[in-house]
Amino acid sequence: MTIRVPDPMNNSQSLLDLQRSQARLATYTAQLTSGEAIVNAGDDPSGTASILNFQASIDQNSQYMKQIDSATGFLQNTSSIATTVNTNVTQLMELAQEGMSGTQSATSQAAIANQVDSINTNMVNLANTQVQGKYIFAGSATTTQPFTAGASTDPVTGLPVAAGTVYNGNNSTVDVKVGSAATTPTNMPGDTLFMGGPAATHQGTASDLFAVTQSLSTALRAGNTADIQTAYNDLKAISGNINGSITQLGAWESGISDLKTNLTSLNANLTTVQNSVQSVNYASVITQFTQATNSQQATLATMAKVNAKSLFDYLA
């Protein structure tokens, strides 16, 4: 059977094909010049969703990494001060041993007591350290100076002391979020570190560094060897406590450092996967571009041929 092929029919079909191949060419060109795989609305809905999801995860992870950096800063400051204080405690223990040796005169005992006092002042200063304007040993009461002079108890003699050191902070840790389900403390409350536990129950006890130091000084001045021995034993236990806290701080630090390493590699992976959806595959698009160009040229050439001839050309 002969199919009638009237002239407008050739043209309308070829025109549609031509327009389609031009639209494809435009898409490929946009992809190649922008480097983005998705250039038109509705090109790839699921791709768009994954790009946005990946972006949200990447942003979140980056923020967690920033939190880790900030937490690490505080924890490092805390642990370096704790280490310094622990060195001071060792010095105090050496001084106590000197005081117990029984070879010292009253004058030299007093000189040792003066050294103890100056170390004590130094330790209180360290315990009042501010980092970025906040007292790092005040628990969550970061605007309150944690250690001040006040009425306390002598842990060795059990007598009240007018010029003791009291804790004004609280026993809370300040936690930050470092993962969707992970938090890390950024501080160690001063009473936990220097008094061995909450101030309410530990201030002025044998685990209170400042009170013990003060009673050591008193005992040295009085030449009371038994009290010096008690203070020495207390200091030994306190040093063990502080060492334990330093280990704890180190564990927190290394925990979040591991977490950061994980987050870094996770983000690298996410970025790679995101790119695979978001970025253009040059090899494949260039091939498609070439195909579309060929098909467009073929369409144009065919249209030119078909439209060139008509029976009218042959009628005189």
């Binding site: 407008p8 609305a41 972006q55 900030s70 970061t142 300040v174």
Partner: protein
Amino acid sequence: MPGLSTGLNIGLSGLTAAQSALDVVGHNIANVNTPGYSREQAVLASSNSLNYGNLQYGVGVTLESISGTRSQLLNQQITTALSQQSAAQANYTGLQTVSTVFQDNGTTGIGSQLNAFFTGLQNVAAQPQDASQRSALVGTAQTLVATLQSKYQSLQDSQTTADQQVVALTGQVNTYTSQIAALNKKLASESDPASDNDAQDQRQALVEKLANLVGIQSYTDSKGQLNVSLEGGGTPLVSGSTAFTMSTVQNTSSGTPPYFSDVKVNLDSTTSVNVTSTLANGTLGAQLNLRDNLIPGYLKQMDQMAAGLAYNVNSLQSSGYALNGAAPTGIDFFDSGTTSGGVFTSANTNHLPSNVTVPPAGTAATDYKGTVMALQVNSQIVADPSLFAAAQSANAGDNSNVNAMVALQTEANTIDTTAAGYPTINPATGVAVNPALNSSGTFSDFATTLATQVESAASQWNTTATNTENIATALSTQRTSASGVDLDTEAANLITFQRGYQASAQFINVINTLTNQLLTTFGR
């Protein structure tokens, strides 16, 4: 047997017929590119013969009719396909604009701004006593609100554009229907309407233009008049020689602008039919779909998300402590600015911006309509960021409250999508009075889902547009194959009828010679 004069008449009929047929060929060639034109054919028939004795002598040819080649069925199929195609095309074009609103290049999208807000919260969590982090947080919250509002505004602009299109397209519909009615009137006045090919073709071309605007059904009645009615309900647009005008009337029943126009068909000066919800095809149907279904759906989700954010952050803010505060702040973080500085009041126990609790007429409070545009950061907190409640105690370094806000980022069930309503909160304790009934993903999931919905809809309409375009092209190719003008055929016909004319002329010449012969021999 007939005489010589009869022979002249036979020749004459041949000349006339050939000339008429040539006219038809010329008409076809002239209309080779006229849209909707159906090729015409001269239908020739031999004239009734004359009896001489027992012999029948033919007496030439007559032009019986000029017939058009058209298929009513194909025409109707094309009309339907065109309506669908133009609807899909217009929906896709509209969604392309909408899709740019939801694009996220990592800084300007809703998801990015949500992340930035939560990052601001986390920075405050790391440094709760730091005034600069609090100011930065207020800044990110204001940017988030501005972003949501500018995107919401863009969507509303698209909606308004669609509404303007509806009004403009209605006018075009009237132009076409009145022309169709006029052609109907012309055809009805003719003795043989079916033979008026050109009027029928013109009418079909108009019907197709009309079909591009609205989905229609049509049938030809016994008088050859084409009656046109709207899809889905059959409201008449053209009945015989009467065209029913379409008009738009602004619908203000919602009580709050923007108001959009209803589309009505006026059956007479007092009766009109509201067809707004029945139009689905054609450009008009697509604009109505964008205006009344697609865009409002996206707007609603943005409102829901904003309400979820306001509710959750506000609940925590009002029960939390400001920097060095002695008691819960009792103020909202996001408010509408219409209450006195967002002070928590008993009328505002749901922690939503106050004018959202008085929803527009016809909408439930739980639709949260208008929340995005009502949102702002509490001016008290903007003036004094230390009022931001990072703590759940009077301690400056306490970040437990802001940590709870940070946790909202990864918490599901924070957005009321089922119009269940948010639980009311005891402002002093921050504890929900009645339990939550919500089910949704996280905020960022919600933003992603919203963007994906737009993309999916765009993809779907794009595919539909391509498919319906293929169908329309195939149908129209089929029609052209049957009804189109083929220049080669016309060229061949041209020669055929030219030769016929020449031969008839030659025949007349012969008769003339014979007559002349007769006259010179016997005439003197």
